[in-house]
Structure formats: C-alpha cells, structure tokens
C-alpha cells in the first residue's frame, strides 16, 4: 500500500497500518496520538489543495 502511494506521488509516511485489539484502549490512544504528531510535522497534504478535494 505504501509503495503504491509512493508511486502515485503521496508520501508513504502519511499512511500507518497498525494492529490494535479492541481491548487495548490505551495502546490505541498512544498509537493515534503518535501518528497525529507525525502528520503535524509533515504539514498539510499536497492533496488538500487539489481542486477535486474541495468539491466535497
């Protein structure tokens, strides 16, 4: 999936796949928080400026 994104010109770092069980609430929170921080660092997605995206 990451390689496909890379080929399509989207930074693969913007995708995270993780296995979290439904019984692992704290772990889920941790994983998501970490990823949000990472995405903040990466800044707005280049796709956000795509005219098509705005149509929604």
């Amino acid at each position: 999936m990451k390689q496909l994104l890379n080929f399509a010109g989207v930074d693969p770092e913007r995708l995270m796949l993780k296995w979290v069980s439904s019984a692992e609430g704290p772990r889920f929170a941790k994983v998501v928080t970490e990823f949000i921080e990472k995405v903040r660092e990466l800044g707005p997605s280049p796709l956000a400026n795509s005219p098509v995206k705005k149509a929604g």
Partner: protein, 274 residues
C-alpha cells in the same frame, strides 16, 4: 493468420471436440465477441481482432468464456486467446471463477513484435500457439520512467491524469479479472458517489489496490479508457510490488492461491505487527 486459425477451429468442430467456439466476428464493420456454434459459421466474418489495425479489437474473452462454462456445465468450448487471455484464464481459475479447466480448448495466437511493444506486453504469446511467431516481451518502460521522477512530479502527473476521468467504469467493465459481485467503486461509504471527476486520487488508487495479485497486464483498461488515462502503468506497478513482496506472478498456471486471497490465521498481537 485468420485462415490458419479458422482451419484449426473447423477441424476442432469436425472432430467433435468442441460444442462452440468463442472468438471474434466482424459483422457489419464492427468486431465483437461471438460464440460460433457450427463450423460453417466461421466463414461468415471470422476475425482474430484486426479491425482498422492489428488487433485493435480485443475483448476480455476469458471472462466471457467463464460465464459460458457456468451456464453450460456439460460441453467443452474452444476459445481464441492471446498471451493476455491465457494469463487471465489462469488467474480466474486461481480465484475460483471457473471450475472446469478441462472443458476449455485453447486456440492460441502469438502477437507480433509491434503489438507487444505497443502494449508493453510482458508475455505476448500463450502457452500453446496455433498461429503466429513468438515475439519478445517488452520492458516496463512506463513504470521505470515514472519511478525515476521525484515524489511531487509523480503526484502532479497522476492528479492531472485522474482529473480526466469521466467515471464511465470502462476500466472495470472491460477488465478480465474484475469479477466481484459488489464493487467498492460504487460504495458511497468508501468513495463519494456523484463527484465528477471521482474523488481524486482515491477512486483510482482503490481500483489499483484491488488489482494487486490480479492484474494480468492485458492493457485493455488503458485501451478502453475514453480519457486516455494510462491506468495500466499504475496496475503494472502494483503487479511489480506483489511480485517483489510475495513472489507471486499473476496469470501463471498453478494451483497456488493469490497472496491476497489467503485468509491466514488471526495474527494476534505479536512483536511483528507492533
């Protein structure tokens, strides 16, 4: 080539080996798939797909054949096939989309070098050839060219291409290995419906992801696209990824399942997926 194939199929009919032959027919100036039921019918417009040029009239005969075999569970059928059709039949069988490979009589034709190069074909001939000479496979130039660009160039390229999409679903409908009863591309929860062009790039990336371990590289999608989006380049890349990651080549004759068609044991929580 036309005559050679025709004679061969007539022989199959006369020997009683096939109940019907799925091929192409030039009728009133249009080449379409046709199921020949008797040998004499072959004299009326039999075609190997040459319309205005060489093989410019191709159809997913493999998928059509599977529905014929499903409707008629007794008889054996012949089919006109090129390297791509051969791969498609193998792939469809691997995905359980046809149960009786023994009821298929393959009438294979090899594509010319010009055709192989035009379609960037990875194997322009079927396993068994009735007519034509084997041509050399063409290199995946379209993929390596894009691979050598940087991330932003690639993004611009694809966004521009995907913006041309008129959402006709032609790529999906012509695809020999698109057999799902319910299509993700029409699910409003996955991809917003009603947008034109469709959600960019989600629509096309979704289709690309679904082509993993399936796309047999026939180039029908690109050929069918009215907006000339180089879809196959994208799927060719996907096929390359599946090859690298799982060592799986689509369209080969084998009993093995496609890696994305395997339901493994529950992974549980291990260090490997941490």
């Amino acid at each position: 080539m036309n005559e050679q194939v025709k004679e061969y199929v007539k022989l199959l009919f006369n020997e009683g080996r096939i109940a019907g032959f799925l091929g192409l027919r030039n009728q009133d100036g249009v080449v379409t798939p046709h199921l020949y039921k008797i040998a004499d019918e072959l004299d009326n417009g039999f075609s190997v797909g040459d319309f205005k040029g060489t093989a410019d009239a191709r159809y997913p005969l493999s998928r059509i054949l599977m529905s014929i075999l499903k409707a008629d569970t007794e008889n054996t059928y012949g089919v006109l096939l090129r390297g791509c059709d051969d791969r498609a039949i193998n792939e469809l069988l691997r995905w359980n989309q046809g149960q009786s490979p023994d009821r298929i009589v393959k009438v294979g034709i090899a594509c010319s070098q010009e055709l192989a190069d035009r379609h960037e074909c990875r194997k322009p001939y079927p396993e068994d050839i009735v007519a034509g000479e084997k041509a050399a496979p063409a290199a995946a130039v379209s993929v390596s060219e894009l691979d050598s660009q940087d991330l932003m160039t690639r993004l611009d390229y694809w966004i521009k291409e995907f913006d041309k999409c008129i959402k006709c679903y032609g790529c999906r409908n012509v695809c020999p290995v698109c057999f799902c009863n319910v299509c993700s591309l029409e699910d409003d929860n996955l991809i917003r419906t009603g947008d034109l062009p469709p959600e960019n790039p989600m629509f096309h990336l979704t289709r690309a992801a679904h082509m993993a371990g399936r796309c047999i590289d026939c180039n029908l999608c690109t050929e069918a696209c009215p907006a000339n989006i180089p879809l196959r380049t994208l799927y060719k890349k996907v096929a390359g990824i599946v090859q690298d990651e799982f060592g799986y080549t689509t369209g080969e004759k084998s009993d093995g399942k496609s890696p994305l068609n395997i339901l493994g044991p529950d992974p549980g929580h291990t260090a490997a997926n941490d």
